[in-house]
């Protein structure tokens, strides 16, 4: 842990607190009280250049504020009155308008003052409603982008649904394989010890962050860096078993207590990673940006890193199922899953088997974390964001299984991406979580799980 990178610290400890929901709303909302009523904001746009990830400021953009009548909840403009103020953005894109008093206003961006090629993403949001109470200054935000980026945000219009569906399916499979890699350890650990390990999510993050440490901080190429991270992640996982879980099992601590202890462990790890890594998300030094396609199958372009992620994940996952089915170690693992006592009486070293399960799970989840970091970016809460999806996959496939979990992960990953054809992307995870709830209602043991008494 101490080895993870010490990088530049982020600015807002506040944001951390907001994330965990502990500060009061006046800090959490985007409004402050300052010198008299007014509005302010930053005009900036998203660039078409994929290498430029920071939004670019706009100088000289003009914003006009009108007195207005708003709907009762203040979220849409009913009618617009006379102009009460205007401002032009400075070199850093900031603008600020002082307003005569509390009340309802409409803030309009003058599109003809924007630089060439920059447009507003949602044309309905050119005029924003603004309701001010005494001494309140509220921020307004216009979502601006260059042509291509704007089109990308609007969702590639012009594509047929089938083309988009095919691309989403491939993305979904890739995502599902990554989830599968993270999920298999969770499932096997549950199978052999009965522990629902909420700290498994932080192992995902830890894996990605260890990869980042070796790759960016130390400066090793990503592939050897990933191997090093996997070794360390596996060792850390074994360390958790030997240092925490085995002593607890020996003490006879029950499974529900252990589950809550894993929650505590997850909290410790998550904030330890945040402490070391900072809250800004980062990309790996290699393969982060790839725009050239390797090949195309029908309408689906494949970039090299996606191909690598899909192929390696598939091979690894199949190798793991083979390991569990064909080797002595796999037989031992499955015997311990069935009944630790019976396994012990047939001469299987239960403790050693459990430790090997932790090792296997730790190595796989580290690779899963690195792939997720490569596919998206590395951030301190990436594992936490995946946790419930991993649970969904494990539940769907059957807690304690191996092959079932892989199928479950693919279904969940595919479902999440395909569902964006019908629902807004921001709601895609909601669909997957609803599926989780529904499965637990109708078939709690999952598709491949053995029927047992669960009530």
């Amino acid at each position: 842990m101490a080895a993870s990178p010490r990088v530049r610290r982020s600015l807002l400890a506040l944001l951390v607190a907001v994330v965990v929901g502990l500060v009061s709303a006046d800090a959490a909302s985007a409004q402050g009280t300052g010198e008299g009523e007014g509005t302010q904001g930053v005009l900036q746009f998203r660039s078409d250049d994929p290498e430029v990830t920071e939004r670019q400021p706009i100088e000289g953009g003009e914003v006009v504020v009108y007195a207005a009548e708003l709907s009762p909840n203040g979220r849409s403009v009913v009618s617009r009155g006379e102009e009460v103020g205007r401002a032009t953005s400075a070199a850093d894109g900031t603008f600020s308008v002082d307003l005569p008093g509390p009340g309802d206003y409409a803030v309009e961006l003058q599109l003809d003052t924007l630089p060439e090629g920059v447009e507003i993403v949602d044309e309905d949001r050119q005029t924003l409603p603004l309701r001010l109470t005494e001494n309140q200054r509220r921020n307004v935000l216009f979502n601006l982008a260059e042509e291509d980026a704007a089109a990308a945000v609007r969702g590639r219009e012009g594509d047929s649904r089938i083309d988009r569906g095919a691309r989403l399916l491939v993305d979904g499979i890739k995502f599902g394989l990554i989830i599968g890699m993270c999920a298999i350890g969770l499932s096997l650990i549950y199978g052999t010890t009965g522990l629902v390990n909420f700290a498994h999510s932080e192992m995902i993050t830890l894996g990605a962050v260890l990869g980042f440490f070796f790759n960016v901080t130390v400066g090793i190429q990503l592939i050897p860096a990933a191997l090093l991270a996997m070794a360390l992640g596996g060792l850390f996982s074994v360390g958790l078993d030997l240092g925490i879980w085995r002593p607890l099992r020996r003490r006879g601590v029950g499974l529900v207590s252990m589950m809550i202890i894993s929650v505590g462990l997850a909290i410790v790890l998550r904030y330890l990673i945040l402490y070391q890594f900072g809250e800004r998300s980062r990309a790996y030094g290699d393969y982060a940006i790839q725009t050239d396609t390797l090949f195309e199958i029908g309408p689906v372009p494949f970039i090299p890193k996606d191909v690598v992620i899909i192929v390696i994940s598939l091979v690894v996952l199949l190798a793991v199922t083979a390991l569990l089915r064909l080797t002595k170690l796999g037989t031992a693992m499955r015997a311990v899953s069935d009944s630790p006592d019976l396994a012990a009486s047939t001469g299987i070293d239960v403790d050693r088997t459990v430790t090997l399960v932790w090792l296997l799970g730790g190595v796989l989840v580290t690779l899963g974390g690195i792939f997720q970091g490569l596919s998206e970016r590395v951030s301190w809460d990436m594992g936490f964001q995946l946790l419930l999806l991993v649970f969904a996959s494990v539940t769907l496939g059957g807690l304690g299984t191996d092959f079932g979990v892989i199928v479950g992960s693919l279904v969940v990953g595919g479902f999440i991406y395909i569902s964006t054809l019908a629902v807004p992307p921001e709601l895609k995870n909601v669909g997957a979580l609803l599926v989780l709830v529904v499965i637990l209602m109708i078939r709690p043991q999952g598709i491949f799980g053995r029927r047992e008494r669960i009530g």
Binding site: A13, V18, L22, A25, V196, L265, F384, P424, V437, L440
Partner: protein, 337 residues
């Protein structure tokens, strides 16, 4: 180090708005987990249901505040029915996963831009509870209270004083209700379900119905916590209702002692006193460079606090699962394997 500041802030932390919110939420968790053995990891979902039930009806539909409060309570009950009907027959760990997912479903849904006309999206809903300060008998801007022992600052302005009085009155009423519930025959059935579900069933008790009633009542305490959060801030923000809130409330309940009426309240007070104390001590230590900047910056103090919470939770469960005032025989953890 200014110890007067540290001590007064620690005391203020113990009676803060956060302590009130977590006490109320933890009282509900205690009914679920401490008395009935239901492992609800989605108490924050009930808080969000209450807060948004209130916020949406008052702001978007213009209801008066009292009607919004009724709507918030109703939203909590409806959520309990929706969640409980299919899941109460599941094992504890499955119930935990379903409830944690339900809480996250609610948060993701209310913060979605798609529904922002109703829920305000990621900005939430603001300024719907002005009536609350309208009921304030104190002068909101005047100062009340005094310095104790010359230096300990325990002064509040009228607005905060009103908020604290209402909040702690709510906690008091909730404790009274809990005491009446758990000492009643109904409460004894809950404990019997916690100890041995099959035995209660064999005695002819409708276990499912009792669990459902427990889920609804405990969820209602959660909804009240969420509404108090919303009303006292005059605002509902979706990201204030994320998963860790449940875990922190659970930690508070375990600190105090599960299966005791006063446990969650004492736990919430201690939890927030510890957070305030560590926050102030670390901030001053960093500010005066007792801790070098290369090790910790003031922005990281919050993170260290949460690490301590996690360590505390682990140590409690291993070494003192009954918390401060709990009775080891009464603590529900792991009764049902």
């Amino acid at each position: 180090m200014d110890w007067y500041v540290i001590i007064s802030n620690t005391l203020r932390g113990g009676i803060s708005q956060s302590a009130i919110i977590y006490a109320l939420a933890a009282i509900g968790l205690n009914l679920h987990f401490g008395y009935t053995g239901l492992l609800n990891f989605g108490q924050v979902g009930f808080m969000a249901a209450g807060a948004y039930g209130l916020g949406i009806t008052t702001d978007t539909y213009g209801w008066p505040l009292w009607a919004g409060i009724v709507a918030g309570l109703a939203a909590g009950v409806v959520l309990a029915l929706l969640l409980g009907a299919p899941t109460l027959r599941l094992r504890a760990d499955y119930l935990a996963i379903v409830t944690i997912a339900a809480g996250e479903i609610i948060r993701l849904t209310v913060r979605a831009a798609r529904f922002s006309d109703t829920t305000g999206g990621s900005n939430g809903i603001n300024g719907f509870a002005n009536e609350f300060q309208g009921w304030n008998p104190f002068d909101p801007s005047a100062g009340y209270g005094t310095r104790v022992f010359g230096e300990l600052d325990l002064r509040y302005n009228g607005a905060d004083l009103w908020e604290h009085i209402v909040g702690w009155a709510l906690v008091g009423v909730a404790m009274l209700v809990m005491w009446m519930l758990v000492t009643s025959p109904w409460g004894r059935v809950l404990k019997s379900i916690r100890e041995d579900e099959d035995a209660s069933r064999a005695l002819g008790k409708n276990v499912f119905r009792f669990k459902m009633q427990s889920l609804i009542l405990g969820g209602t305490f959660g909804a009240i916590a969420g509404m108090f959060f919303a009303v006292s801030n005059n605002s509902v923000q979706p990201d204030n209702y994320s998963t860790p809130v449940t875990f922190f409330a659970l930690t508070a309940a375990i600190i105090g002692g599960l299966g005791r009426v006063a446990g969650p309240v004492i736990g919430a007070i201690i939890f927030w006193m510890i957070l305030a104390f560590t926050d102030n001590v670390l901030r001053q230590a960093v500010g005066e460079e007792y801790i070098p900047r290369s090790i910790m910056e003031s922005t990281q103090v919050g993170q260290v606090r949460f690490m301590l919470v996690g360590v505390g939770l682990i140590l409690l469960l291993v070494f003192r699962p009954q918390g401060v005032i709990g009775d080891k025989r009464e603590v529900a953890i792991d009764v049902r394997k």
